[in-house]
């Protein structure tokens, strides 16, 4: 369970959002809304510990500094994949796929249509295909908190369905998810509109 | 004892706040600039005209009154930058970052002054404008460090990370400067054992020492005055659209 109190973040002394407070309970799906540049991505980065100089407090199961970090799955705009390595080589060393056996990953990759690209260099893949590599880790992982930044962007219809289905499974199985998306058809349990918190 | 400690703490916090510093410095500025110019005048005139001429080098050694103060001021400004960097990193005091930004160009110009006066001095004794001797070389390296700081600062658009980057560089530079100075001295003894101590001021006779000390004091006062002006300019630049700054401007004119 994640509790956020009085969270505000300033970028070169201009406040993106000011004293934002909400709780993220298990099984909750929060969608962050707001105009571009209202700080949606920044909030996700703050929640997962990339950006540290925020005001306010974030406590995870009321252990204040999120000491053990391996309970968080972060999907950012950038894919963090090495271009000169193949898909399997990337997955071998990516921390997001540790603890998941290779067979499960291959299964998910096949489901997303990447079965015969396993040994091609990532640099030869399209943006959508690169995204699917990370999503295959997402499909197979079981963390308690997921922070997804535009999970469904440049995906084909079929893969979008698979991912949204998986999001629901994870919510039902008790994990909590905060995500940003311009998709309309995802029914979130709670919406947070960051424009309300802008200064 | 803790009364004194809390006084220092209070002063420290006040030092960090821009409005307080801005108003205090406007009072200090006129007096200290007059004082600085006066002492500078006395020192230079005394050194150039009234002190004895040197046995072996004749009149040209008088440049010592410009070179030695400039070199020592350049060095101490850099270590002041390093302490400001340390204060910024450890206690996150905004004023420290601003201090580095304001003082770096001043330090660089005094280092340049030291280099030019050193070259002018070297010319008659060595017959060339530039001498790769220990003192001048480490002053050149000091200039490179200053330029690195100024360059690094200007390459950041976000003020906060610029201050942090510059503080790290200032501290790392300060740690490495003594090592560089030692290795340059050592390198110099390799090529020119017990080289000319042309630039050391310790071994000069007393009639020459007093004007030199006055000049050194004058240079430090000058740096203090330039520093005040530069910091005020930087505060103005950063706090232009803040309320307290507008109030002061309206109140003054």
């Amino acid at each position: 369970m994640l509790t956020i109190q009085g969270l505000s973040y300033a970028y070169s002394d201009r406040f993106l959002f000011k004293n934002l407070s909400f709780d993220l309970n298990p099984g909750e799906l929060i969608q962050l809304k707001g105009r571009n540049g209202s700080g949606k991505t920044t909030l996700i980065k703050v929640l997962c510990g990339i950006l540290k100089n925020y005001e306010g407090s974030i406590s995870f199961d009321n252990d204040l500094n999120l000491g053990e970090r391996n309970e968080i799955f972060y999907l950012g705009h950038k894919n963090a994949l090495k271009d000169n390595l193949t898909i399997l080589e990337n997955l071998k060393y990516d921390y997001r796929s540790d603890g998941i056996e290779l067979a499960r990953l291959k299964e998910n990759l096949a489901a997303l249509g990447l079965e015969n690209y396993l040994f091609t260099k990532v640099s030869d893949l399209s943006e959508g295909q690169k995204r699917k590599i990370i999503l295959s880790c997402f499909l197979a992982s079981n963390k308690s908190i997921y922070l997804l930044d535009e999970p469904l962007i440049n995906l084909d219809e079929e893969s979008k369905k698979i991912v949204s289905l998986e999001i629901e499974n994870k919510i039902n199985s008790g994990s909590s998810i905060v995500f940003t998306s311009h998709e309309k058809n995802i029914l979130a349990t709670k919406d947070i509109n960051l424009d309300k918190y802008a200064t | 004892m803790n009364k004194l400690f809390s006084a220092i703490k209070l002063f420290y916090h006040k030092l960090g706040s821009y409005p307080w510093f801005y108003s205090i410095s406007s009072k200090f500025l006129p007096i200290s600039s007059v004082l600085a110019l006066m002492i500078f005048g006395i020192g230079i005139v005394w050194g150039i005209f009234y002190s004895p001429s040197d046995a072996t080098q004749g009149e040209i050694y008088r440049i010592i009154y410009m070179h030695v103060p400039a070199a020592s001021v350049a060095q101490s400004i850099y270590f002041a930058l390093a302490t400001a960097g340390f204060v910024y990193i450890v206690w996150k005091m905004k004023m420290a970052g601003l201090f580095i930004k304001a003082m770096a160009p001043i330090g660089a110009s005094f280092t340049l002054l030291a280099l030019i006066s050193g070259a002018i001095w070297g010319q008659p004794t060595w017959g060339t404008w530039w001498v790769w001797d220990a003192r001048l070389t480490s002053t050149l390296v000091l200039l490179l460090f200053y330029l690195a700081i100024i360059g690094l600062y200007s390459s950041f658009d976000n003020k906060k990370s610029a201050d942090q980057a510059v503080s790290i560089l200032a501290m790392v530079g300060a740690i490495n400067l003594p090592i560089i100075k030692k290795s340059v001295d050592w390198w110099n003894t390799l090529h020119q054992p017990s080289s000319i101590r042309v630039f050391e001021e310790s071994s000069i006779s007393s009639e020459m020492l007093y004007p030199l000390l006055v000049c050194i004091l004058a240079f430090y006062l000058l740096v203090f005055v330039f520093g005040l002006m530069a910091i005020r300019a930087e505060i103005a630049k950063r706090e232009m659209n803040k309320e307290w700054f507008k109030k002061i401007i309206i109140k003054n004119d």
Binding site: G76, K78, L85, D94 | V141, G151, L152, G173
Partner: protein
């Protein structure tokens, strides 16, 4: 500790797959060395007098090329974000990255400088000095280069060299004079160079951690 092992093999894999990392410093080093006889003079005893300094300068410049982009790729593609999310201690990340970069870029250059005995008439009896001092010197320089790269992440690289080169001055002085003096003085230089290494490793790597952190403001 498990993180370190897998991160180390990840870095080794990345470097082994990207051959340009290894080849470009080597090419730069050879071209840089070849210029001197053409530009300065090709008579043997003049060149052998200049050889130690030339080798050191060219290795410093060649090393500079690759070391400054050490964090750039991970910063651009988002891997650094993941390290922060996962809570890895950035100090280990920095140390491993610098060490792997050193293995793949500096070691080939050091082996190559043995060929300078022919190209630059470098006195053979002093080769041991040269290799020893290069071994330590390039490691120290990699730390300064990494700091310069971290400070100017995502900015133009001229600045990075302006930060790295003044810092590497003591190494250049110690290293080049180590290669000019006869073998029995070598222990003096090796001791000093390793003292410099042990002194700058902790300070500079911590500065690197701070420097990377500031790009996440």
């Amino acid at each position: 500790m498990i993180f370190l092992k897998s991160f180390f093999s990840r870095e080794v894999l990345i470097y082994s797959k990207k051959s340009s990392n290894v080849i470009s410093p080597v090419i730069f080093f050879l071209i840089c060395i070849a210029f001197f006889p053409l530009a300065v003079s090709n008579d043997p005893n003049e060149l052998s007098k200049l050889a130690p300094g030339l080798i050191w300068i060219c290795i410093l410049l060649a090393g500079m090329l690759s070391i400054q982009t050490i964090f750039k790729e991970d910063y651009d593609d988002g891997s650094l974000d993941l390290f922060y999310v996962r809570g890895f201690s950035m100090l280990e990340v920095v140390l491993v990255k610098i060490f792997v970069n050193w293995i793949f870029t500096a070691l080939p250059l050091i082996l190559l400088s043995c060929s300078m005995v022919f190209l630059l008439y470098f006195p053979v009896d002093k080769l041991f000095n040269l290799i020893g001092s290069l071994f330590l010197g390039t490691l120290i320089i990699s730390f300064f280069g990494a700091l310069a790269g971290a400070l100017s992440l995502g900015k133009n690289s001229i600045l990075a060299s302006a930060i790295m080169l003044p810092l590497s001055l003591p190494v250049l002085i110690l290293g080049s004079s180590a290669s000019t003096y006869s073998n029995e003085n070598i222990t003096f230089f090796i001791l000093l160079l390793s003292a410099l290494l042990f002194f700058s490793v902790p300070i500079i790597s911590l500065a690197c951690v701070g420097a990377i952190r500031l790009h996440y403001e």
